[in-house]
């Protein structure tokens, strides 16, 4: 009989970050010893251990490490935000920590440190995703290996604060995304993105992030 255990997500969290070597688990004694299958909280990564593995903290850590090692191999890009930020500076979003402890009159409405952290993490991640697209001709779908950063390092000279503005060459009032698509189609020689394409949304997020603090001035040339 095979029993399945689900390792605590917490164990995964505590070991994330460093690359782990698969630890030595108590070996299965024979082929017919089905042992116990331990499953990670992703519901797919498993490790099989001997049924009589001692129930100690040390053995538990070994099981968690074995699962984490597998998970990391399956997800080599798990640290993509940190990796991208090491390469390309992305302006962090506004600091909302001053709101912690404040509420708007609801019972559960009080802003917690976790709320603030979540807002920041998710907002930043979108801008960082934009940075990865901005800096990659492949991500942009360029047929000539041209990326945005070639003309706009750190998103310089993009002026998102000046849109919307009338562009005679387009024959209409352009939003930032129209100019992004113009660049994708012409200097980059790719295929235009739909306005709600995740890459377009991310590009807008990154470009806006890099001009944080600039006053809106729509129509400016």
């Amino acid at each position: 009989m095979t029993r399945t255990l689900t390792a605590l997500g917490l164990a995964v969290m505590t070991t994330a970050g460093g690359a782990l070597a698969a630890p030595d688990l108590v070996p299965l004694r024979s082929a017919d010893d089905a042992g116990v299958e331990v499953k990670l909280c992703d519901d797919e990564t498993t490790v099989r251990i001997a049924a009589d593995t001692p129930k100690t903290r040390a053995e538990g850590q070994k099981i968690a490490d074995a699962l984490m090692s597998q998970w990391q191999q399956k997800h080599p890009e798990q640290d993509w935000v940190a990796r991208e930020r090491e390469r390309h500076a992305v302006t962090p979003p506004a600091d909302n920590s001053g709101l912690v402890g404040k509420a708007q009159g609801q019972v559960y409405g009080q802003v917690t440190p976790l709320d603030v952290k979540t807002w920041e993490r998710e907002t930043l991640a979108m801008a960082v995703h934009g940075s990865t697209v901005f800096h990659s001709g492949d991500e942009l779908g360029s047929t000539i290996a041209v990326s945005c950063d070639m003309c706009h390092p750190d998103a310089a000279n993009t002026h998102p604060e000046t849109y919307p503005k009338f562009q005679p060459q387009l024959g209409r009032v352009a939003l930032l995304r129209d100019m992004i698509n113009w660049c994708i189609e012409h200097p980059v020689r790719g295929t235009v993105l739909a306005p709600d394409d995740p890459k377009m949304r991310a590009l807008e997020a990154y470009i806006l992030a890099q001009r944080k603090g600039k006053a809106l001035d729509y129509g400016k040339r």
Partner: protein, 372 residues
């Protein structure tokens, strides 16, 4: 022949006449051409910047040294021929420009970053294209040519990356100013990963450019053979001063290199990498940037030298705007009058008098749309 000529035709005729005159280097015909061009342009009703349209002043030749000019092409960033024809066409346009110069320049400087990713096919393609230049070519290496194989293929094609030569009484020095401290071994990067890292201007992992101690020593020795009054012109890919660190518009040991050059009366540094009109002066040293044929860089958010008159903000709807080539006239005094031949716009000249006067005289026209 039709008597009526369009505004465009007249503009191009005036422009051609101007360029011919610029290189004739005979003071009298110079002024004649200059006035004629300015006059014709004024009559034609074309608005133009006086300084971008009139000839640079060439001082009367002193005994023993005659003025001369050399052209430049820089930062072509070629990919493989099959991958990207855009940058190939741009380089060919620049080659056509310098081949059309009449009289021909004494030589053509290629300012580095011939290739985008330092690959054999890219460098070979570049070498093949540059063979179409009629005048002799002087090569300089850039970081995009270097960091895949640390200059191996480039050296096979073009020889030593650091060298000097004399021409008409002026001493020229070519440096490899794009050395970087090892950031790749610790990270276990492949040569191509290293190349891609350096190829990203805003990639923060890479190190800062430097000339390095061995080359500084070489420079000291090389210059020790010359008197202080010999004009010296240095070609370096990166600007030999500190403009903006994050984009490597920067040379880490710039002060040390400047100290070596300080002993000479007239020193001019002409550099690539920044893809923009850039003017600076530090003591006796005049600095000029070069345009790229591939794409323009924006001006950095800080550190712009005071003497720099910006080029107009490139128009994204105008292909190749902000790109170009140009040439330099070395005056009888051994100073450099620099001309930026911006494609699709009026050429801009930055005469040595502008730098020598600390910006008081002969100021180039300010752009209508500056960067912000």
């Amino acid at each position: 022949m039709a008597k009526w000529k369009s505004v465009e035709t007249r503009w191009y005729e005036d422009r051609d006449a101007l360029f011919r005159g610029l290189r004739r280097l005979d003071r009298r015909s110079f002024l004649r051409v200059s006035f004629a061009a300015a006059g014709a342009a004024a009559v034609s009703g074309v608005r133009f910047a006086p300084h971008s349209f009139q000839t640079v002043s060439v001082a009367d030749a002193k005994e023993g040294r005659e003025p001369f000019s050399f052209a430049y092409i820089s930062d072509s960033h070629l990919y493989k021929r099959e991958l990207n024809d855009r940058f190939v066409r741009s380089l060919l346009r620049a080659i056509d420009d310098v081949n059309a110069m009449d009289p021909q320049p004494d030589f053509v400087l290629f300012g580095g970053d011939l290739a985008q990713l330092g690959q054999r096919e890219e460098l070979d393609l570049g070498a093949q294209l540059l063979k179409n230049i009629k005048a002799p070519v002087r090569m300089m290496v850039g970081e995009h040519d270097w960091f895949l194989d640390m200059g191996a293929r480039w050296r096979e094609l073009f020889g030593k990356e650091t060298y000097s030569f004399d021409h008409k009484g002026v001493h020229f020095v070519v440096l490899q100013s794009v050395n970087e401290a090892d950031f790749w071994t610790r990270r276990g990067m492949t040569p191509m990963e290293r190349m891609h890292t350096v190829a990203g201007l805003d990639n923060g992992i890479q190190s800062r450019f430097e000339v390095g101690a061995p080359q500084r020593e070489w420079l000291k020795n090389d210059l020790s053979r010359y008197d202080d009054d010999t004009p010296v012109i240095v070609f370096s890919h990166s600007p030999l001063y500190k403009y903006y660190r994050n984009w490597n518009f920067w040379t880490e040991d710039a002060e040390e290199v400047q100290a070596i050059l300080r002993g000479f009366d007239r020193v001019t540094v002409i550099h690539g990498h920044t893809h923009q009109m850039l003017t600076n002066r530090i003591g006796n040293i005049h600095f000029h940037g070069m345009l790229s044929t591939a794409w323009p860089w924006p001006y950095a958010p800080e550190g712009l030298p005071k003497l720099t008159v910006q080029m107009a903000r490139p128009d994204p709807f105008n292909p190749n705007d902000g790109c170009g080539d140009g040439f330099a006239t070395v005056t009888a005094e051994g100073l450099v009058d620099k001309v930026y031949n911006l494609w699709n716009r009026n050429p801009v000249d930055v005469p040595s008098a502008y730098l020598a006067s600390g910006g008081k005289k002969s100021r180039p026209q300010d752009p209508s749309l500056a960067s912000f």
